[in-house]
């Protein structure tokens, strides 16, 4: 497989995952405000912070209002953190790699972009927003289902899955970092709605029922962190994503350096114990994991995408 094709498949995997995760995060945040009493409304701008997109926001808007935050994350096609940007990029990646994908993959992403273009303008009101975001999540899931059920387990599959799981691990750690910080910070003032906020955090990473099934109905910081970082069976936990990277990369040629690196992050996470980590140290830990993921991406590009003349 051409390096260029592999790289586009990898990015198709990343962008689709990013679109889905962004939609889920925004959607859960929207539900949160319905549940909390007037006066304790959470900060909309936290959504922008999750993406480290403060600069992107400043390029387009002045005031951090609910509308502006949604405009940025949903429909600003020129902002890399928006759903519109992610889906369009995924479409362009799939346009040039459709020969490596199952029949129907191109039609599906094409149809998804048509849906997005048609509904974007009307998707900003609170009511329509939820419908739009849910549809985006469902369409992304449908696409993943299509790949899982009909793409041969070869190079194309491996590169899409690598992209998808690096992105997923990255998003989950970002959401945890900002979410935990905010909740802990505001502990004093909003203690009565704390369980709701923890649940929202789980919802944002699609872990609510999975958490309940394996940990029970009580939610708190340590349990959540343990679960979302270290669950061996939950497919969106950080460690699970890393296992997938390991599993997929071991199918690829010239993979030793990459595997060693992924395993070193896995070990770091296994050593993590939420109860023993203070808030400042948690942020430092999350940053380390994030750095590790960035290095994972760099190493992946170096190994499979930039095979220069030797």
């Amino acid at each position: 497989m051409l390096s260029r094709v592999a790289e586009r498949l990898y990015w198709a995997g990343r962008y689709l995952e990013r679109a889905e995760n962004t939609a889920r995060l925004v959607s859960s945040h929207n539900r949160l405000i319905l549940d909390i009493p007037i006066g304790s409304e959470p900060d909309w701008f936290a959504l922008v912070e999750v993406f480290n997109a403060e600069n992107q926001f400043a390029q387009f808007f002045k005031r951090p209002t609910e509308m502006n935050v949604h405009k940025l994350l949903l429909l600003k096609t020129r902002a890399p953190c928006s759903i519109a940007f992610s889906l369009r990029s995924a479409k362009e990646d799939i346009r040039v790699t459709r020969a490596a994908l199952p029949d129907g993959a191109w039609e599906h992403i094409n149809e998804m972009c048509i849906y997005m273009d048609e509904s974007l303008g009307a998707s900003l009101s609170r009511r329509n927003r939820t419908i739009f975001l849910n549809n985006i999540i469902q369409k992304c899931q449908l696409f993943n289902g299509l790949l899982d059920s009909s793409l041969t387990r070869g190079l194309a599959f491996n590169f899409i899955k690598l992209g998808q799981h690096i992105e997923r691990a990255d998003m989950v750690t970002r959401i945890l970092n900002v979410g935990v910080r905010d909740i802990v910070k505001q502990e004093e003032s909003f203690s009565h709605i704390k369980p709701i906020r923890w649940n929202t955090l789980l919802e944002a990473v699609s872990a609510k029922s999975a958490f309940r099934q394996s940990m029970g109905a009580t939610v708190d910081r340590d349990l959540i962190l343990e679960f979302v970082f270290k669950s061996e069976t939950f497919p969106r936990s950080v460690i699970f994503c890393l296992y997938v990277l390991n599993e997929r990369a071991s199918q690829l040629p010239r993979t030793e350096e990459f595997l060693t690196h992924v395993n070193s992050i896995i070990r770091k996470i296994k050593r993590f114990s939420a109860g023993k980590v203070e808030q400042e140290n948690l942020e430092r830990f999350v940053q380390k994991v994030q750095m590790g993921l960035i290095e994972t991406h760099i190493l992946l590009s170096k190994t499979w995408f930039d095979s220069e003349a030797t």
């Binding site: 051409l2 260029r4 040039v96 020969a99 003349a309």
Partner: protein
Amino acid sequence: MDLYKPDKVYDELITKAGRSRKGGTRLVRWLKKESPESIGRYSKLASLAVREMGISYAIYSEGQNIDREWPFDLIPRIISAKEWSYLSSGLLQRSRAINRFLDDIYNEQSILSAGLIPKELILSSPNYHQECKGVSPRHGIWAHIGGTDLIRDQKGNFYALEDNLRVPSGVSYMIENREVTKRLLPDLFANYSISPVDDYPARLYEMLKSLAPLNIRKPRIVLLTPGIYNSAYFEHAYLSQRMGIELVEGSDLFVDSENNVNMRTVKGNEQVDVIYRRINDEFLDPEELDPESQLGCRGLMEAWRHGKVAIANAPGAGVADDKAVYAFVPTMIRYYLKEEPLIKNIKTYLCMHKPARDFVLQNLERLVVKPINQSGGYGILIGPHSSDSQRRYFKGLITKNPENYIAQPTLSLSTAPTIIEQDIEPRHIDLRPFTLYGKEGWVTSGGLTRVALKKGSLVVNSSQGGGSKDTWIVEETV
């Protein structure tokens, strides 16, 4: 349905007496049986099938929606197997002669020394590349893939209109058109004995394989595309998929210090032996041709001259496809093959010659004037349909740059029944068969029939309102 009666022009299906031509009986019977409503319905089903099968072509634009549906007319165009057998011999003959000519002008130049073709016409052509001199590609073949446009005059005689030797396109639509017809007219299809067309990718693959450098046993073949914004990208993707070869862009390739061409893959670098290129000569190699080119690969020409890689068509082959050189194809056939041309050329006036020029300038309203180095039906004057000011404009162009123009008599292209809304009307058509030449020559069964969908129009190019038809070569008893 009632069918029209052709008057002045030759119709492919219906004689002047209103009867069906040989081979067309069943088709005519079917058309007569259908109602206008059902014909309209068939036409809708056909465009639905085209959309579902994702048959598209791109229009150059910066916008988002760059795919256009391929315009297709469901009524097939029929040619008898006997007539086709003669035409395909004629096409192979042309291809043989043109390849001898190309090998000659880049080596001995005997045809120029013999004074049979004006030296300056060839050597000063922008498509003649000094960089190709002295090269001898395998089998002595330069133009491996050709698309010759054939038309029929009012008497029913076929003529060769032009030989496309740079990057001729359309063959994927020939194959897809057949798929759509089979889907929609299975009964009609089953009652005919029609030559298949879907063996083209396999033939193309075999031909490309035969070009590989001698010491390579399992050659790696790639298709080089300019990318998704090219109008024929659909075809590039289609053919590479059907042949099971990589679809590469210039940036995927590099030439190493030993002049080997490599492609970058996830396994590392892999050597490339044959390149089926769908980019024009000038973009092939920024080192020697257009330095601005982002589409090609640095050092490719040098690798090709060293025989490390085969390129189809060979760089420089385009010199035989301009409209002035066209006029000399019969000369080439007589000179190299010692044969008489089987397919006639259209009388061509080279404006570079004064007597011809004077004739052209005085008879503009009866002639078609074409620039020598343009394709796609752009920049031409169709005399009988032109205005005074257009003719004045062309008079100026020809007087200023006579060597850039040729003129030909206006031919009334033949017509074929075509679905227009719920009606069946005659529309002008041409035919582009495709010729392959590697170790051996081969011609498609039929080719791509292109239709000028506008009433009375003679322009069949898809970029200018043209459509297409499936072409049936039929073994006919009735």
